[in-house]
């Protein structure tokens, strides 16, 4: 299964890059992500709850970031497995400046799916993957925005603008 597309984040490229490399932000953005912990080898171990149509399941995923070229691009490798089957994917993320306040993230990659998800969810797979990616970027954009443009604090003891 091929996956490609792009998403515009209303934040400067440096900020987007930092957040894309930040496991906490990724964990908060990944739909169904229950946990994400760094491994000693620099990769991350995540637990994801994902549903493709009727096939819902918990997946143990190993996420690895390869060849990062700050702040332009990196490759991401994902190996996930669970009772519903396995998902192995690898893709390239490229960040392009779109003016000073916007960043275009372009992604392209390929995923191999096996098990129940492949045999039963095939018709839904592409659409479901696209939806998951889109959910990720929406949530990610929010996270980035929160960092780049934090809301005014309601706590009187904290100054309203850190900038």
């Amino acid at each position: 299964m091929k996956l490609d597309g792009s998403y515009t984040i209303p934040a400067p490229r440096e900020v987007v890059w930092q957040q894309l490399m930040n496991p906490e932000t990724l964990a908060k953005s990944l739909p169904g992500c229950e946990r994400m912990q760094p491994n000693p080898d620099g990769s991350y171990q995540a637990e994801l709850k994902v549903g493709i149509g009727a096939v819902k399941g918990s997946y143990q995923a190993r996420i690895e970031i390869l060849n990062p070229v700050s702040p332009e691009r990196y490759r991401m490798k994902v190996e996930g497995k669970g009772a519903g089957g396995f998902v192995n994917g690898e893709g390239l993320l490229t960040l392009t400046e779109n003016g000073s306040a916007q960043t275009l993230i372009t992604y392209s990659g390929e995923a191999q799916v096996g098990g129940v998800v492949a045999s039963v969810g095939q018709r839904l797979l592409q659409a479901a993957a696209r939806q998951i990616v889109s959910q990720f970027f929406q949530a990610f954009a929010k996270q980035v925005q929160a960092v780049a443009f934090p809301p005014p604090s309601t706590d009187p003891l904290i100054p309203s603008s850190p900038r």
């Binding site: 497995k81 191999q112 799916v113 096996g114 492949a118 045999s119 039963v120 095939q122 018709r123």
Partner: protein
């Protein structure tokens, strides 16, 4: 009573219990202390197995035992293959994968637990480390030198190469007066999808040292022998029972690893173990059918006479051999000439291993492929020479006087009249009227297609010399002291209705009511020997065995009656519950003769007491039923959807014993054949994942997608058996697929379409229409 029972639309004895839900299938069997088994199956098409972690499964609630390939190695025999082909490579096929998996769905571990749900949940807790290997999915790529090899110990992915030659094809190449037509057909992979999935209950009683197995099988006796071998038991210690079997279509003509595992688990645990296959497992891990690539060269004279046919068959066998896997495509070669006496033939069949489930017998088993090839060829000849497909066929039919007809393929057709069935179906369809309608509609931009198929099949399998496990069948007829009759058959039906047809044979022959006859089958402790139900053999071989056993019984009864009546045995007839002389002057009640035979007070000298006779019928040849079908289709110019508007079938299965059963077989067979032509296809992706893994994705046809099938018969009896019956179980599936495809290609003739590979899904047709309109 006076009307003969044979040839009547007698209602099925089976139906009251089946339609009221009172039959007992394997899953209905409940035994005290019964455990349930579930399998962990491979997620990969090709991978080495690393460690398998079973601790969580073992600790799960209700779990009694967990087995992996390592646990059973050397303690359970290999899954057997019975096909005898020269030079055949047979990979070792363990009931649970040992160090490598070769297809998605291959059993890797088995869990036995207190309930089916507990077993299933625990099976999902088993973690298997796989080291994925490149998968080989396309059989042509599997033949390439650089292809990964699935069974390294066998050297390459070629399981066998078989050549069949007759006449001299090479000499035709020099003949410049001949037209050479080339074609490439793909006969796609199908799933049999019986309504009842597979299932087994194994119950080993340590005290009696007896293994009793209930299995949803078509071949209980073969299964008994094989399970005894796999479990190192004497056959006397092994009993197989096929209870109600909810369809098989060949998929249960087999011995599966799951059956072996249920026996092993029951032997180890001393408790009954049940396994019921789920539908997803059924699509993944029950044998598949078809899956061939056919490359053809056809040599034709300008007048439409076909003089030579060369064909290369690449048969995708899947990863392992099941019972008859490699034998199936060789039947394609054997029947490739169809009902045409083409003097020169050369067929090379290459069986190829791929990382998929094994193919094997699916209704028709090799013959639908043959019929598809030759019937598409006949339409291509018509297309190339601009002839009517009817004329091409008539030109190439042998005369009815030519039979028995020895073909260059090595088979001898028993009897036929192909002209008669074709004329009859053309009349039923109103062929010339349809052609005119087609012309009219084309002018209006509407696409009506008329497709023909004139088929012949090879049935009543078969002479033992040609069958791996023998081709005879066993039948026994017993008359009980009360005068009621018990019939035992070694065949094992799963929807065919032989409790009805066999009762008809016996009641008709003995001159007693149909209700007085009870037919039993499917229990190896009840029926001493048998081969089973497949290859349209049940009536022609199994029915004949019963007919012969009954004949022996009648001889004995006639001698007893003659002794009582003071006449010669040859003067007596059996009718209306009496045994009497033709003129009825001397007569004795059937029940009286039964009583005399069993109570043995005044038996003539040399006659043993009792009335039970058996017979083992060994057929001298196969039978060759035939027929002619016409499909009429409408192609929707907007959506590419195909509507089957009319279907006409004239089938000749020899003597018809029960027209209702024959009709039923034709209707079901045609439905499955249309399914292949239009909708059904098992699809593996390039990594070997089965992506049509549910009935949401695999398009089994529904009743509303069909028109009414108009069925008729001609009757050309066979001399191969005394009943004159040929067999009809697969005729519809064999005959109908090319009729539908020919009809669709015919409809799309204005678009320059010469051939389209199945299934003819709307998308495919829509693209052609769109392209054609643009052109």
């Amino acid at each position: 009573m006076a009307t003969p029972l044979l040839g009547q639309r007698v209602k099925r004895k089976e139906d009251p219990r089946l339609i009221q839900g009172r039959g007992h299938y394997v899953d209905d069997i409940q035994l005290p202390g019964m455990l349930h088994m579930a399998f962990t199956r491979s997620l990969h098409a090709h991978a080495r197995i690393g460690s398998i972690r079973v601790a969580a499964a073992k600790a799960a609630p209700g779990v009694v035992a967990v087995y992996t390939g390592q646990d059973i190695q050397g303690q359970l025999g290999w899954v057997p293959c019975a096909a005898g082909i020269e030079g055949l490579k047979v990979p070792r096929h363990s009931c649970l994968a040992i160090d490598k998996v070769c297809y998605v769905g291959e059993p890797v571990a088995a869990v036995v637990a207190a309930s089916g749900y507990a077993a299933r949940d625990a099976a999902d807790l088993i973690e298997v480390d796989y080291e994925p290997l490149p998968a080989v999915v396309n059989p042509e790529k599997a033949l390439a030198k650089e292809s990964p090899v699935i069974h390294e110990e066998l050297g390459d992915n070629v399981a066998f190469v078989a050549k069949l030659a007759g006449g001299d094809c090479a000499s035709l190449e020099a003949d410049k007066t001949l037209k050479v037509i080339k074609a490439r057909f793909i006969n796609q992979r199908l799933a049999p999808v019986s309504m009842e999935t597979r299932g087994v209950v194994a119950n080993y009683s340590p005290g009696e040292d007896l293994l009793t197995v209930w299995s949803s099988t078509q071949v209980p006796h073969i299964l008994k022998t094989q399970l005894a071998i796999m479990n190192s038991l004497d056959e006397a210690r092994c009993r197989v029972i096929a209870p109600e079997v909810g369809g098989g279509f060949g998929s249960k003509l087999n011995v599966y690893g799951e059956e072996g595992m249920a026996c092993l688990a029951s032997r180890r645990l001393g408790r009954p173990v049940k396994w019921i296959e789920g539908r997803r497992e059924n699509l993944q891990a029950t044998i598949h059918g078809r899956d061939q690539i056919n490359e053809l060269e056809v040599y034709v004279r300008p007048d439409g006479k076909v003089v030579g046919l060369k064909c290369s068959i690449i048969a995708d066998l899947g990863a392992y051999h099941q019972l008859l896997t490699p034998a199936i495509p060789t039947l394609t070669a054997l029947m490739i000439l169809g009902c045409y006496n083409i003097p020169n033939v050369f067929v090379q069949t290459t069986g190829v291993f791929t990382n998929k489930m094994a193919t094997d017998a699916y209704r028709g088993a090799g013959r639908p492929e043959a019929t598809y090839i030759i019937e598409r060829v006949m339409d291509l000849v018509a297309h190339e020479l601009n002839m009517d497909p009817v004329d091409v066929r008539m030109k190439n039919f042998p005369s009815p006087d030519d039979f028995p007809l020895a073909l260059p393929t090595g088979v001898t057709y028993d009897t036929a009249n192909y002209q008669r069935s074709l004329k009859k179906v053309l009349k039923a369809a109103g062929y010339s009227r349809l052609r005119k309608e087609q012309e009219r509609l084309r002018k209006k931009g509407k696409y009506l297609g008329i497709g023909l198929s004139t088929y012949v099949e090879i049935c009543a399998m078969g002479p033992s010399s040609r069958m791996p496990a023998g081709g005879w069948e066993f039948g026994e007829v017993r008359i009980d002291p009360t005068g009621k009759v018990t019939v035992l058959s070694g065949t094992s039906p799963h929807g065919q209705g032989e409790e009805t047809s066999f009762a008809q044979i016996v009641a008709d022959g003995l001159g007693i009511p149909y209700d007085d006859v009870t037919v039993y089958h499917g229990d190896t402790f009840q029926v001493p020997m048998g081969i089973g139900t497949f290859g349209s053999r049940t009536t022609a071989v199994g029915g004949t065995a019963i007919y012969q056993a009954m004949g022996r019984l009648k001889k004995k009864m006639a001698r007893i009656a003659a002794h009582q009546l003071g006449v010669k045995p040859g003067e007596l007839v059996f009718r209306d519950r009496r045994i009497e002389t033709e003129d009825g002057q001397k007569s004795i009640g059937f029940a009286e003769v039964v009583a005399e035979a069993i109570f043995a007070k005044q038996l003539p000298p040399g006659i043993d007491p009792g009335l039970h006779e058996h017979s083992v019928f060994e057929p001298s040849n196969y039978t060759f039923p035939f027929g002619a079908h016409v499909a009429v289709v409408e192609v929707d110019g907007e959506t590419g959807e195909i509507r089957l508007r009319n279907y006409y079938a004239v089938d000749d299965c020899g003597r018809v014993l029960n027209p209702m059963l024959v009709d039923g077989q034709i209707h079901g067979g045609v439905a499955q054949a249309v399914g292949q032509a239009l909708w059904e296809e098992l699809v593996y992706d390039e990594n070997g994942q089965l992506i049509t893994g549910s009935l949401m994705d695999y398009a089994v046809p529904k009743a509303h997608q069909f028109c009414w099938f108009e069925t008729q018969n001609t009757e050309t009896r066979t001399p191969v058996n005394p009943l004159g019956v040929k067999g009809v179980g697969e005729a519809g599936t064999i005959g109908a697929t090319p009729a539908v495809v020919n009809a669709v290609v015919d409809a799309l003739k204005p678009f320059g379409v010469r051939h389209i590979d199945m299934p003819l899904k709307p998308e495919k047709i829509w693209r052609i229409l769109k392209q054609g309109v643009r052109n």
